[in-house]
């Protein structure tokens, strides 16, 4: 939720101010062991998507080649829904036909120009038995370099938003945040993920956003809101660096924006992973926190997560 926007800003500014007295130093870092990293998800109505890569030394060479050639395409991944098993196949960036590269961008997240240059593979299946279903659990087994890694997740019942709406700012009626009202079910654990995609068309006739984007802190659970009905708001994660917008209105939606809100329900384990992931993403290694390792549901010594998502979709027209 986006309630502490200004407080974060003050704290960040304070850190920036004292950071003015800073310099590069050379220190000895702890020993490094390479680990497998799993980035996998399954959501309602869609096939599982899994990427595999490895951890890297803090001071390793980070050229484009070094990063993108590090994705793993020669592992074996088995998936099961408890009754049926299947082997996932690879869909690789350099195999995407040119006319589908926009969809490829949504999948791989790299610029279309790089897709054919690198062999980045997602593990998935077109077997509809493994398209995500509410109430089902899914487990995977990864076999790589003689080791086995296992994980499981589930897709919970979705919780629907009561409403989504847009509120213009008092200072400038052309900008505002996206608001929503939610009534949290009292009788069960609930956790949520907020993602957005602007479907306005740009000058070339393409949607402004080709994939869903997450906000700065996109997850929350019912730790403090169990059973209550309340209003919350979120920023536009795509305009923080948009210099065409006055600085004080960056992070807001423009009047006439059309926003697809994807509001997913999560199980507790997936929430724990995402919550701590975004704490680390937002805090980095600053000293006002303690070092935080992100939990994983992958057994066998790997990092990352295989999570289930139960989304509902809403169209918000900013006017």
């Amino acid at each position: 939720m986006k309630k502490f926007h200004y407080l974060y800003f003050i704290l960040l500014s304070a850190i920036t101010l004292i950071s003015a007295c800073q310099k590069d130093v050379s220190v000895k870092l702890p020993n490094y062991d390479e680990k497998l990293v799993v980035d996998g998800k399954i959501e309602t109505g869609l096939p599982p998507i899994i990427f595999l890569s490895t951890t890297k030394n803090i001071f390793s060479e980070n050229t484009q080649d070094a990063i993108f050639k590090d994705f793993i395409s020669d592992a074996l991944i088995l998936i099961s829904d408890g009754t049926t098993k299947d082997t996932l196949e690879t869909i690789c960036s350099d195999e995407i036909p040119k006319q589908f590269q926009d969809i490829g961008y949504a999948l791989f997240g790299i610029p279309q120009s790089l897709m054919s240059k690198y062999h980045i593979c997602a593990y998935s299946t077109l077997n509809q038995a493994f398209f995500g279903q509410v109430g089902k659990s899914y487990s995977i087994e990864i076999q790589y370099k003689g080791k086995k890694y296992n994980a499981s997740t589930s897709i919970v019942e979705p919780t629907y938003l009561d409403s989504v709406y847009w509120k213009p700012e008092k200072k400038n009626k052309d900008y505002g945040f996206a608001y929503a009202r939610l009534t949290d079910p009292i009788d069960k654990y609930n956790a949520y993920l907020w993602e957005v995609l602007r479907s306005n068309l740009d000058k070339t006739g393409k949607p402004i956003d080709l994939k869903f984007h997450k906000t700065g802190n996109p997850v929350f659970n019912d730790q403090f809101i169990n059973g209550i009905s309340f209003e919350f708001f979120y920023e536009n994660p795509r305009t923080w660096r948009d210099t065409s917008i006055p600085e004080q209105f960056r992070g807001m939606y423009k009047r006439e924006d059309t926003v697809i809100v994807k509001f997913s329900s999560l199980d507790q384990s997936t929430f724990n992973f995402l919550q701590k992931k975004y704490v680390q993403v937002n805090n980095g290694t600053n000293p006002f926190t303690i070092p935080l390792n992100i939990p994983t549901n992958i057994s066998g010594g790997a990092l990352g997560y295989f999570g289930g998502f139960s989304p509902t979709y809403y169209t918000l027209i900013c006017k």
């Binding site: 500014s13 007295c21 980035d39 951890t55 803090i58 926190t289």
Partner: protein, 803 residues
């Protein structure tokens, strides 16, 4: 300590104590008080040498002293910083009580004493005790013009600061919560302002400080590592005095004077910063700091009154407030963060006889931290609080020859509110469980005997028994319960939840080798019933104090120390070497992965893991005591480790583990008008936890940490210098009686202190962090370790006055 070992130690202790206190001789006592002749203020820490018996005593906090001597004629020498040394001839044929008045003579004695003052280190059986006098600290370099006794304490061997400029301090590998900070005998939980950069001690209100870093005597307890006793000024019993100062960031004013002349005195001291007012003109309306303000102020009040020959009462109080505010009216957003201490104490000093004195103290101490924010209809409030009500009764007896026996009882009723949270949106309150106040009783009784067995052998032996009870109302949240099993346990008001207790033996032995050297051995066992834990790498006011509970057991620790002490060049130079080993258990840390919001939905102790610690080291200290050039060099070689199996399978360095720590402190009095000071410090860098690798997840850069505190910051070093210019002590006035100009002492005095902090502008590490530059998809992404430094070269000037 193992149970059997402890039992054997107790038997040994009792067998030593029993015969010592069972016999008496027909000795007489020489008792009395030492006070300032002009003001009537009693003087603590005054050294009294008596010959021919060669005994040395020091006045206590009430200016009281005693000797137990065979009948005869003695020469008594009374020495104190800032006063003329006095000699008296005493004929002792019966118990005698005398009053000694010393004459202020700062100018003469300033050249003959040192910045820190210790009881004769060779003679005194106690180890690791250092007294500091505020008068001399004021001539040392001052950070941003603020003279600070805690900053000076951090220059002593075995003591290190938590971070650059920080007030928290670590003593011999113990945590900052393991230091008992007492202001006029009342504990202070957070002795700092401005997130730790300044201490709560107003230099004009403080008379002296006494640090016990070795094994503490049995009359102290409740903390494992050290005791820092701060005494505030009593006030002048004869006339009104005003003193104050104007500094770079704050100003202060102190007024003291008589209450019924000669019977009592009062002292009021206040201080306030003006950073907020000074910064306002420099903050533009577009700055993110526009609308923000910070200030602190503190007030000290003290009064004493003599009720008769045998009774005296003291009242002492302190209140300090820090406040940060931010307001953006156009956005309807504001933040307010207040925190501070309040304390008050009433002490009754009663002399039953020349051989028995009682001090009874009742006190209250309170520390609060708050955070409040509102944006439109959304508001959040966070609070934490500690409140202690305490009572101490202590008797000092000199009934038995060569014995100074102290015994007494302590009691504290603790109320902790570790954290409470409320969130509202309009009229809708968020669903947060009610905050739990944690209540407990802590009590102790003790006996301590300072016994001179022979001319060479002296012991300070004591035994303390402390007991602790955590009581309801309290709700315990249970985890991993079976279906249909209750998930909470409720305890009724005042119902015991958990009781702890144990003996705390203490012993210090001194053996004189020659006239000017001695060896000492010390052992102390301590229980500590409170804990401090943090979700930050830095020490912040948000750190959570927590009492021992059914899950969080009391911290326990022991310290063994051995030292060699020698005075050379007719006591002008003192040399000491002390080695120590300290073991600690039931230390706490948050479980890996705990987030601040978890504190509000669970018992905090359910979020903790428990571990042990050890530290050992050797401290070298050489100090020049007299002459125009005075000062000391302290060096510590030490190692401090922690072991928390739920965090890491192997022991890891404590975050303040420093292998080398060096301090050089010097003062040179050029003449009556100018005194110069310099301080140099060098320390191995603190440890911290940085990641060992990075990885990508959904295009986010993430870090993996695999080893706690395994990175060491660059080493820390700094030089500060100061110059203090005093005005002339006298002025010429025309005397009609003598028909000439005569020199008289000036009533109005002032001085200027010029200080330069970090003279050679060294960028010392405050913290390190990883910074990424470039973009992954463009292949120019780089990670580098950045060092953030706080304070460059900072000149400051302070003007002080008194009349």
């Amino acid at each position: 300590m193992q149970k059997n070992t402890k039992k054997r130690f107790l038997i040994l202790l009792i067998s030593i104590i029993t015969p010592l206190i069972s016999f008496s001789q027909t000795n007489f006592t020489l008792t009395g008080t030492v006070q300032d002749k002009e003001s009537g203020i009693t003087l603590p820490n005054v050294k009294l040498n008596i010959t021919p018996s060669k005994e040395v005593e020091t006045t206590d906090s009430s200016g009281y002293f005693f000797f137990s001597l065979i009948p005869g004629t003695y020469q008594l020498e009374i020495r104190c910083i800032g006063y003329k040394t006095q000699n008296k001839t005493i004929s002792l044929i019966e118990n005698k009580n005398i009053e000694i008045e010393l004459v202020d003579n700062t100018k003469e004695l300033a050249t003959a004493e040192v910045h820190t003052k210790k009881k004769n280190q060779v003679q005194d059986p106690n180890m690791g005790q250092i007294e500091l006098e505020m008068k001399k600290i004021k001539t040392l370099p001052a950070f941003m013009g603020e003279v600070d006794i805690l900053k000076t304490i951090q220059l002593l061997p075995g003591v290190s600061s938590v971070s650059e400029g920080g007030q928290g301090f670590y003593v011999r590998g113990g945590g900052p919560d393991q230091n008992l900070v007492l202001v006029d005998e009342v504990p202070v939980y957070n002795a700092s302002h401005l997130f730790g950069f300044f201490s709560v001690f107003n230099s004009d209100a403080v008379k002296s400080g006494n640090l016990i870093k070795g094994g503490m005597p049995a009359n102290y307890g409740g903390r494992m590592s050290s005791v820092l006793e701060i005494k505030t000024n009593d006030g002048d019993q004869q006339k009104i005095n005003v003193k104050g100062g104007i500094g770079l960031i704050s100003s202060r004013l102190t007024i003291d004077g008589p209450i019924n002349k000669g019977k009592g005195a009062f002292m009021i001291a206040g201080r306030r910063t003006y950073i907020d007012e000074l910064m306002k003109p420099f903050i533009s309306s577009s700055s993110p700091f526009n609308g923000s303000a910070y200030f602190f102020y503190d007030l000290n009040l003290k009064a004493n009154y003599t009720l008769g020959r045998k009774d005296k009462i003291f009242f002492s109080s302190y209140m300090g407030v820090d406040k940060f505010t931010f307001s953006n009216k156009s956005e309807g957003f504001n933040v307010e963060i207040p925190w501070g201490n309040k304390l008050a104490a009433l002490r009754w000093n009663h002399q039953f006889s020349e051989k028995l004195v009682m001090n009874a103290t009742s006190y209250t101490t309170n520390y609060t931290f708050g955070f409040g924010s509102r944006q439109d209809v959304f508001s959040i409030a966070l609070n934490s609080e500690i409140h202690d009500l305490g009572e101490k009764i202590e008797f000092t007896s000199t009934k038995y020859i060569n014995h100074k026996i102290k015994y007494g009882i302590d009691y504290i009723f603790h109320t902790f509110l570790p954290s409470s949270l409320s969130i509202e949106q309009g009229a809708t309150p968020f669903n947060i469980q009610s905050p739990q106040k944690l209540r407990s009783h802590e009590s102790a009784f003790y006996i301590n005997d300072e016994y001179e067995i022979s001319g060479k052998l002296k012991v300070n032996i004591g035994l303390r028994y402390s007991a602790y009870q955590f009581v309801g109302p309290f709700t315990r949240h249970l985890h991993n319960t079976l279906p249909n099993q209750a998930t909470t346990i409720d305890y009724a008001n005042n119902k015991p939840v958990k009781t702890y207790g144990g003996f705390e033996p203490r012993i210090a032995v001194r053996y004189l080798l020659k006239d000017k050297s001695s060896i000492k051995f010390g052992y102390a066992y301590n229980y500590q019933y409170i804990h401090l834990t943090s979700l930050s790498t830095l020490s912040l006011p948000t750190d959570i104090w927590l009492p021992s509970t059914d899950i969080a057991k009391p911290q326990q620790g022991y310290q063994v120390s051995l030292g060699y002490y020698k005075n050379i060049l007719m006591d002008k130079i003192e040399i000491s070497v002390e080695a120590y080993y300290k073991g600690m258990k039931n230390l706490i840390e948050y479980k890996p992965g705990v987030l601040p919001q978890d504190n509000f939905t669970d018992n905090i102790d359910n979020l903790l893991v428990f571990g042990t610690g050890k530290s050992y080291g050797i401290e070298f200290f050489i100090r020049k005591n007299v002459g125009k050039f005075t000062g000391w060099i302290g060096y510590t070689l030490a190692k401090t480790e922690r072991y928390f199996p739920d965090i890491q399978a192997t022991p890891f360095p404590a975050k303040y583990d420093r292998r080398h720590d060096l301090s050089i402190v010097s003062s040179y009095e050029l003449n009556e008008r100018w005194t110069f000071g310099a301080v140099f410090v060098y320390a191995t860098g603190n440890t911290l936890t940085l990641p060992s690798s990075w990885y990508l997840h959904d295009q986010n850069l993430l870090f993996d940490y695999n080893s706690r505190n395994s990175t060491r910051m660059p080493s820390y070093h700094r030089l500060d210098i100061s110059a203090t210019r005093f005005d002339k002590a006298t002025k010429k006035v025309y005397s009609y009686e003598k028909d000439d100009y005569i020199e008289i002492k000036k009533r109005y005095r002032s001085n200027w202190n010029f200080s330069v902090y970090n003279v050679y502008n060294h960028a010392n590490p405050f913290f390190l962090y990883l910074q990424g530059t470039g973009k992954l998809v463009q292949g120019n992404f780089r990670l580098s370790v950045k060092q953030v430094s706080l304070f460059p070269i900072i000149p400051s000037v302070t003007w002080n006055f008194n009349f």
